[in-house]
């Protein structure tokens, strides 16, 4: 009898500990989904962003590597193609009909062909691409520098952000989009890349044009860029948080 009692008491304790552990874990999952608690966790974001901006001079560069450091295989992540028939037709002709639109709060709204983009002041950089998932790859990027391009279209005084509208949908009904502010827009390493590793950008890597904003994580580097809209804020665009992944809980300033 006493043996049985001991076993059941031990069983009770083990079950109790398991239930207690499950309650704590379940509680953490509930907290993770509670809007009030998420608001609290999200409060760290502006502190993180402001401290990064504080220690990061506007001119400090992401490290540039040598040809010998290039990744043998550079993973193509997110969308690796575009379903839109108009895009596919363009891809077939080597993007001869492609035009990048620049509009919004600019003095001279513009649209540029790939040839015109290639004639703009360019920069080549070998940089490390850091994915939010944790992996890194090194690639060589050549593209139009953003600063002279923005100077040529002229920003209106209320311009604060560039919004990059993309052709891909990444498994949803809404198009991919991203945004950066003027500090990153005017950074010397911010380019609209049309070449990768010395060849025209491939479709999996965002042909014909992708953003490189080297001091931030991979999801900021919008692929398949069709239009750059200059805005004073992005609250009315899609989910209102300034990007496809930002609308799904990721940080707008992706410095870490």
């Amino acid at each position: 009898m006493s043996g049985d009692a001991k076993i059941s008491r031990r069983g009770f304790l083990i079950r109790g500990a398991a239930a207690g552990g499950a309650a704590v874990l379940g509680g953490c999952d509930q907290l993770s989904q509670s809007p009030a608690f998420r608001d609290l966790l999200y409060k760290a974001e502006s502190l993180t962003k402001n401290v990064q901006r504080l220690v990061l001079s506007e001119r400090s560069l992401a490290r540039e590597y040598s040809e010998a450091d290039l990744s043998k295989h550079f993973k193509a992540n997110g969308s690796t193609g575009v379903a839109d028939p108009a895009y596919q037709a363009m891809a077939k002709t080597g993007f001869g009909d492609y035009r990048l639109t620049i509009d919004g709060l600019v003095e001279r709204p513009t649209s540029l062909s790939l040839e015109e983009l290639r004639r703009l002041p360019a920069r080549t950089q070998i940089t490390r691409h850091d994915c939010v998932e944790g992996w890194s790859a090194i690639g060589k990027w050549t593209g139009a520098q953003m600063t002279p391009l923005l100077q040529s279209v002229g920003l209106k005084p209320e311009a604060r952000y560039l919004v990059f509208h993309c052709a891909d949908k990444l498994g949803t009904t809404s198009n991919y989009y991203e945004s950066i502010d003027l500090i990153d827009a005017f950074h010397p390493q911010t380019i609209l890349a049309y070449d990768m590793n010395g060849a025209p950008l491939s479709v999996p890597h965002g042909a014909p044009l992708r953003l490189r904003v080297e001091r931030q994580l991979g999801y900021k580097h919008a692929k398949y860029v069709q239009r750059i809209e200059v805005v004073s804020n992005f609250m009315m665009i899609q989910g209102g948080r300034g990007g496809f992944w930002e609308d799904r809980g990721y940080e707008w300033y992706a410095g870490i």
Partner: protein, 278 residues
């Protein structure tokens, strides 16, 4: 009943200051959340490398789900070229929905339990800030109050007799009397290694994974040998901190769970009188 009159009563001392007790519990909460949310983040790419980039041939640790020849799936852990079947725990385990899924660490140790990198990062960075503020408060208090010098720095004498202390601990004989009023030399060294070694290292390797911090402080990449090396060291630090935590809990229990936990809550600690020598 008669004997109780002759047994010397334990002396109650005030062992932990309020600042130490508060920062201890905040630290414990932060490290637990950081470990579990960190494993959620790790699960987004459950492979570690050395160097700048993630070249598959330079992986040092990998938790994968692979298909067996009979069509079923297995969790496989690969460390330095050696593979182990870890089905159910690492690489492949039952997710919160009840379905078997490919996941590095199992759902009972990640935060959230279900796969959600964005929320894991929110938890991680919020509690990383809390850990930093708590750590700074602790360091300020500890240096200004003399806690480091008085309680944590081992004396030359203690270092000389460290062998004796190790053998006493190995036999689970813990100090009594006046000796029990201080941290033991092994305790001191363990705490110093965590406070001035592991925690600064986990903080710096965390920063080295940030492309923005790498642009601000490029030397971080040189110190740790690249972003992927930093990620691996960050993971090893978390592993070492977990080991410290487990040994810490075992020592708390073996050397008097109630007395130890009470002293970390109220500050009061009972000193067992030294046994009279025969």
């Amino acid at each position: 009943m008669v004997a109780s009159a002759t047994v010397p009563q334990p002396e109650i001392v005030y062992r932990h200051s309020l600042a130490v007790r508060l920062t201890h519990w905040v630290n414990a909460l932060c490290l637990l959340v950081l470990l579990m949310s960190g494993l959620q983040i790790f699960n987004a790419h459950p492979t570690l490398y050395f160097g700048s980039i993630s070249e598959p041939d330079r992986a040092v640790l990998s938790l994968d789900a692979v298909e067996r020849s009979d069509g079923s799936y297995a969790g496989v852990t690969t460390v330095g070229g050696l593979s182990f079947d870890t089905t159910g725990v690492l690489g492949l385990s039952q997710g919160p929905s009840g379905r078997i899924e490919a996941r590095g660490f199992p759902q009972w140790i990640t935060l959230p339990s279900y796969r959600d990198l964005a929320t894991g990062r929110r938890w991680h960075f919020f509690f990383a800030w809390l850990l930093v503020f708590n750590g700074l408060a602790y360091l300020a208090y500890s240096f200004l109050s003399g806690h480091v010098r008085r309680d944590l720095s081992p004396s030359r004498d203690e270092i000389r007799h460290i062998g004796h202390s190790i053998s006493e601990h190995a036999r689970l004989r813990f100090p009594k009397g006046d000796e029990a009023k201080r941290y033991n030399v092994l305790q001191k060294l363990a705490y110093l290694a965590v406070i001035f070694g592991l925690l600064p290292l986990v903080f710096l390797t965390g920063l080295t994974m940030s492309p923005a911090m790498d642009a601000a402080f490029p030397f971080l990449l040189d110190v740790f040998g690249g972003r992927q090396s930093a990620r691996t060291i960050h993971f090893l630090c978390a592993f070492a901190l977990t080991l410290f935590f487990l040994v810490h809990i075992v020592m708390v229990i073996l050397s008097g769970a109630f007395n130890n936990i009470r002293s970390m809550i109220t500050g009061r600690y009972a000193i067992e009188p030294e046994e009279p020598r025969p």
